[in-house]
């Protein structure tokens, strides 16, 4: 419907986990698109489906999970239909990922340099010696001090910040079209985390990649992302550019979430609370999944799942509050 160039289109993606306790409806028709060269943020609280979205895009949903329906289009190609072998050629080469915890996502038994060189050897069939040399180059680019020396170290010999730099180097080796970053700064200290944010932004500009940035931290969204999708209990409730989100959030969940954050600007004694807690996804609430906790709940909310409506250009909200107005006009 839009003519702007979308690199990745996630279309009504539905991922479920078939556990003994019942079917966990982790993603319920999640749709968004990432444009060329933009940083798209997915923000939400634990268990809202941010990471499942990432693993679904990469085709790495662990058993008993399965993509039930929906499409993931990378440059028009549907990744959901691809075989495991075909996906192996996409992962690490066209789509790369930076994980939250570099300690557990680096192999403790191999030297940093070799792990960073692996995509060169596997995807680009460069000779090992050349690949190792190129790896030190890209490590230096991520600001790792003494990259030549550090590339001969094992992961445990590096600090958390340095390991995260190595992860970023690894993800950039094949100059991916899409970089998925899953909370890469959550485990880092404030000053180190900020260095990593600045680094990813600089490298993203240099390489021109699109980024899917997954986080629970609204402040990181404010500083990093161009457009944002807010997730709640497996659905995207609001989707807009970042400035609009912080200036004019429309969905009741987004609005209250923003007011629950203690911030430097307002030093009120009492923080805004959202009543109730995040629902179980085995038997999620019917209709709008936020309705049991919503102030503005109406009769229709528990019956009908709200569709996304464009409340202003480029600002999508899935809430019946705005659906009523639309019917009237």
């Amino acid at each position: 419907m839009e003519t702007r160039e979308d690199l990745l289109v996630v279309d009504r993606l539905k991922t479920q986990f078939f556990t003994y306790g019942g079917v966990v409806e982790a993603l319920d028709e999640v749709s968004f698109e990432i444009r060329l060269g933009e940083i798209f943020g997915l923000v939400g609280e634990s268990g809202c489906g941010k990471s499942v979205t990432a693993t679904s895009i990469l085709g790495l949903v662990a058993k008993p999970g399965k993509i039930v329906s929906g499409r993931v289009l990378l440059d028009g190609e549907n990744l959901v239909e691809k075989s495991e072998q075909e996906m192996n050629r996409v992962r690490g080469s066209r789509i790369a990922m930076i994980f939250q915890d570099p300690t557990s996502s680096l192999n403790p038994l191999f030297r940093i340099g070799y792990q960073v060189a692996e995509p060169y050897i596997y995807h680009q069939r460069r000779p090992k010696r050349q690949a190792l040399k190129d790896a030190t180059e890209i490590l230096a680019k991520t600001g790792l001090p003494d990259a030549v020396e550090k590339s001969r170290n094992y992961p445990h010999e590096l600090s958390g910040g340095m390991r995260q730099r190595a992860m970023i180097a690894m993800s950039l080796t094949c100059e991916p079209d899409l970089l998925i970053a899953d909370e890469p700064t959550t485990n880092l200290d404030v000053t180190i985390g900020r260095q990593i944010l600045d680094l990813v932004k600089d490298l993203q500009r240099e390489f021109g990649a699109s980024v899917l940035w997954i986080t629970h931290d609204m402040a990181v969204v404010a500083q990093m992302c161009d457009r944002v999708g807010v997730m709640y209990a497996g659905t995207i409730v609001e989707k807009t550019d970042v400035r609009t989100l912080f200036r004019n959030a429309k969905h009741p969940y987004t609005e209250r979430l923003l007011r629950a954050i203690p911030s430097a600007v307002k030093s009120a004694d009492k923080l805004e609370e959202i009543p109730g807690s995040v629902p179980q996804l085995i038997h999620p609430p019917t209709g709008c999944r936020f309705h049991p906790r919503c102030d503005h709940v109406m009769e229709i909310c528990s019956r009908v799942k709200p569709v996304e409506l464009e409340v202003e250009p480029g600002h999508m909200v899935a809430c019946h509050l705005f659906g009523g107005e639309k019917e009237a006009t």
Binding site: T191, R194, Q195, A219, Q223, K270, L271, E272, E273
Partner: protein, 321 residues
């Protein structure tokens, strides 16, 4: 004039590093810290991992024996007390830890988890204990039928409520909150922070709040200490530290925390801290911060700066010039 509940004087803690035969080095965890915690106040401690926040707090609670220096509680030097004499002190102090998944015994019923301090301090037994536990659970927003369940049946936010209920059990005067809300989601964190503020007012508690999240510390504390590599580099009221940060490290730390305003991304940041925190085994000489300091002076690697009052009790450890 409020009285001091805790005072520490020149508190120092080094952890020895030993090989099989001898001591090969020392971790300079806390060095020469002076701190006063006024009764009824909330003192926040901020700083990055390994700066000694937790060691300082645990030394104050006498859970770690200091290498040197004094801890004074209600005007009394606690070092002279025997272990037995500390029972009353233990009753008046409590801790809430960061991770409510590892701080609650998975094999104990909630009634026992929350009621344990009552039994240890011989406050209440049997049915009396259950009555007290019930009132504690209600105080933290849980229900009577939660009493006979196990910790795994609760969410992270509920577990942290349980940890707080247990901390309150023996009717303490002082609670150490060590990253107590760091593992929680924003909307859950808001509820816990509101509850902590309510409890403090109702029960006239004194808090020490440790966190790496500057906005949370700012929200809860009235006095804030900033630590770097075992030393206190700045101390003052919330307004002094946040509105007029003076030590270059504090300024860098505040500038590094992402702000909630998307328009700030285009503004150049005042101070950008490069590099990482050095090792506490062989900390830098002079001012510990000098290798990363954007406005270091030639003498910074030789002279150790003392905390100096720059007005109204706002203390900063940075060489003038």
């Amino acid at each position: 004039m409020t009285t001091a509940l805790f005072e520490c004087r020149n508190l120092t803690k080094f952890f020895p590093i030993k090989n099989l035969f001898r001591e090969t080095g020392r971790v300079h965890a806390v060095e020469d810290v002076n701190l006063t915690i006024p009764e009824g106040g909330t003192v926040g401690l901020v700083g990055e991992s390994g700066c000694g926040k937790t060691t300082l707090a645990r030394t104050i609670l006498l859970l770690i024996e200091p290498t040197s220096g004094q801890v004074i509680f209600r005007g009394e030097d606690m070092a002279s007390r025997s272990k037995r004499d500390l029972r009353q002190f233990r009753r008046e102090t409590a801790i809430v830890f960061q991770d409510p998944y590892s701080s609650l015994d998975p094999r104990m019923l909630i009634a026992d988890v929350v009621g344990e301090p009552l039994v240890i301090h011989k406050v209440a037994f049997g049915e009396d204990r259950d009555d007290v536990v019930l009132s504690l659970l209600e105080r933290v927003g849980l229900k009577a039928d939660h009493m006979y369940r196990y910790p795994h049946e609760f969410s992270g936010g509920q577990r942290q409520r349980l940890a707080i209920a247990r901390a309150l059990a023996a009717d303490p005067k002082f609670i150490l909150l060590d990253e107590a809300t760091s593992a929680l989601d924003v909307s859950v964190q808001a509820k816990i922070l509101n509850m902590l503020n309510g409890l403090k007012a109702d029960l006239r508690l004194t808090y020490m709040f440790i966190s790496h999240d500057l906005n949370v510390v700012r929200h809860l504390s009235d006095h804030i200490g900033v630590m770097y590599l075992g030393r206190m580099v700045e101390y003052g009221t919330r307004e002094q530290v946040f509105d007029t940060p003076t030590h270059p490290y504090t300024r860098g730390l505040l500038a590094a925390a992402p702000s909630l305003d998307p328009n700030d991304r285009d503004r150049p940041r005042e101070v950008v801290l490069q590099g990482e925190v050095p090792s506490a085994v062989e900390p830098p000489s002079g001012c510990r911060f000098h290798p990363r300091c954007p406005n270091r002076k030639p003498e910074c690697d030789r002279v150790r700066p003392e905390l100096v009052d720059i007005g109204d009790g706002h203390l900063v450890a940075c060489l003038p010039g």
